[in-house]
Symmetry: C2
Subunit: 380 residues, 2 copies
């Protein structure tokens, strides 16, 4: 019985608390880990999280182990659900690596662009020899909020969440393992699909930066999409989206244009991105970020736009719009996001040809770290 699957949720933020409680409510054994002990002290005390669902009574969801000790958290876990901002993926990979054991599954919820590729590189680099399976979701499975120190609320569950393992040959095994908990996970051909269908890369940084003055002046008191998307800002989104779709095409991936995604996900009407966003009731009422120190910049620029631009540079696709956004974000935050962000090298793709990338995401072969090691050892 798959209820015997034991989960560890990494990260006790808006998403992690909701997922840990949701899994426990479904009868699974769940550990919850958070690096900072204070964040989970109340949950440790109670041993449970109060989970509210939209339109139903709240439930008290008992967790097996709540800890800030990573070895303790991972002990006995079958599936490790990483629910932290992409900026935390590197640290999580490094701290998990020594404690992994054969057969454990790690899922990044979500990976943003290149999350699992970089995660795999780090596991290799720090010498993790366990046969772990890494996978990434295209987006988080629900919309949720932390509503108190030991409370979380799920607003909406998403219908279909793309998932791929690295290598793709293991996607089926991952889906089988987690399908009782999350049947909404659907397979996509490989992690290039989950990584390149990252719509946050297109919408978040550009709309935040092109409305920077308005956001700061009003503390985000306007409708982010309905008001902040105008003919010209929508045009910038279209150019960014074209860059993303072109990079995907260069890698043999048919990415879904944002316009079609809006039609599919929201049944939005309209022939242009501007019209589709204006005509999307799902965007009604969504306010702008309250300030510019927001994950729409500090997460989406280094872990969505930088990997896109880096892949564009390697595979010959101009990324003027992405570059403009990254540079502007660097100036606004006084941070070198090109350096801090996830590059093709971080993803283990530097120097690979398209055919090698495809083989790597499909079969796990042509891994430059392994290859390099092989060369060093005089093998192969």
């Amino acid at each position: 019985m798959s209820n015997e699957i034991r989960y560890t949720v990494i990260g006790a933020g808006h998403g992690g608390k909701a997922m840990a409680a949701d899994l426990a409510a479904k009868g699974f054994t769940v550990n919850l880990y958070n690096r900072t002990a204070e964040r989970i002290s109340e949950i440790v005390l109670r041993g449970e999280i109060e989970l509210e669902y939209e339109n139903s009574a709240s439930r008290y969801c008992r967790l097996a182990n709540v800890t800030s000790d990573i070895a303790d958290a991972l002990d006995g876990a079958d599936v490790i659900m990483v629910v932290v901002p992409a900026s935390g993926h590197r640290d999580i990979a490094r701290s998990c690596a020594p404690h992994m054991r054969d057969g454990q599954i790690i899922i990044l919820n979500p990976g943003r662009t290149g999350g699992v590729l970089e995660f795999r590189q780090i596991l290799n680099q720090v010498g993790c020899t366990a046969d772990v399976i890494v996978a990434e979701a295209g987006t988080f499975v629900f919309a949720s909020r932390s509503t108190g120190p030991a409370q979380a609320r799920i607003f909406r569950r998403k219908n279909a969440v793309p998932l791929a393992a690295l290598p793709a040959t293991r996607t089926g095994h991952v889906l089988e393992t987690v399908c009782e908990a999350y049947p909404q996970f659907i397979p996509v051909p490989n992690v290039l699909h989950t990584s390149l269908d990252n719509m946050g890369a297109i919408f978040h940084p550009a709309l935040t930066l092109l409305n920077a003055g308005w956001i700061e002046r009003t503390k985000g008191d306007f409708q982010f999409y309905i008001e902040g998307v105008t003919r010209s800002t929508a045009h910038v989104l279209e150019v960014l989206d074209r860059e993303r779709v072109t990079i995907a095409a260069a890698l043999g991936v048919r990415a879904r244009p944002a316009l079609r995604w809006l039609r599919d996900a929201y049944s939005a009407k309209g022939d242009t991105l501007y019209e589709a966003i204006q005509g999307n009731p799902g965007y009604q009422g969504i306010k702008a970020p309250r300030n510019l120190r927001h994950r729409y910049i500090f997460e989406d620029v280094p872990f969505s736009l930088v990997p896109l631009a880096s892949l564009g540079a390697q595979f010959g696709v101009d990324t003027w719009a992405a570059d403009a956004m990254i540079r502007l974000a660097c100036v606004v935050h006084g941070t070198n996001y090109f350096e801090r962000g996830r590059t093709a090298e971080d993803m283990g793709l530097k120097g690979l040809r398209v055919s090698e990338v495809k083989r790597y995401v499909q079969d796990g072969e042509v891994n430059p770290v392994y290859s390099l090691a092989a060369v060093r050892n005089g093998a192969a």
Copy 2:
């Protein structure tokens, strides 16, 4: 008597009509030229412009000749006042070149960045052999508006307008010639000063782009500086300004930082650009542009920011902020402003060392076009 100085004003827009009328009101003989005949048909019919000054009765100012024939317009002129957007400077240079005669003075009002340097290059390239004197103003001498087909209004005269000729040895002669008309022109050491103290480069494109959504959504119905300048947008202005001042320093020019300029020009208080702008009563009531098809982008990006970035590239100064703004403007307008804009090559500075640039702006020597011609002719 210097009232004998004959002026030709090129361009019958907001600035040109006001200047032509103002010069005529001061007793000078004035021709007015506009490329498009329709723009001046009413003035041709009346033979005069009705000029309103703030707080005084309007005057009817008789012009000597109003024409869209450039040869006719330049005939007999001592001083040619070019009052067109910087995007028109190239065409004006080309159309004036065949009709120039020795001793005529051309003043760009203003040149933006590198205006007179490029103007000189074009005169040379098209083989203008007349000994004409070219100069540029740092800004336009007054704030004015076209208020009807044959009407103009002057709101405010500026106290001190920097002016330099190319070469600088001729600045004195230019000032002597125009001082009766415009005593507010003051000499600066050379055209690098007029070009690099271009504050529009710093304020206009960045504030327009960082408030793009707000501008388009409200048709510019907010206070451009007082509301559109926030901590973060002001930070971007500061970085842009630092790039400008650093480029100037690389060229041996001590440019005035924007903060000091605000204190000098407006007696603005405050220790940061944000505070100085917020505390500047001169910015009260200035609305944002009504849309993004505005000279704050299509003039200031190619003729203020592109020359700055191009000089930065040549003289080893990083221009991340300027580059971000230029790229973003390219995306928003679907135009390659790097190509359309004024580069170091257009300014005749490509390949020159700092010492050669200094000598060129000072004495008019080390002009690469002349040098090239000299090499080709086997001379020197």
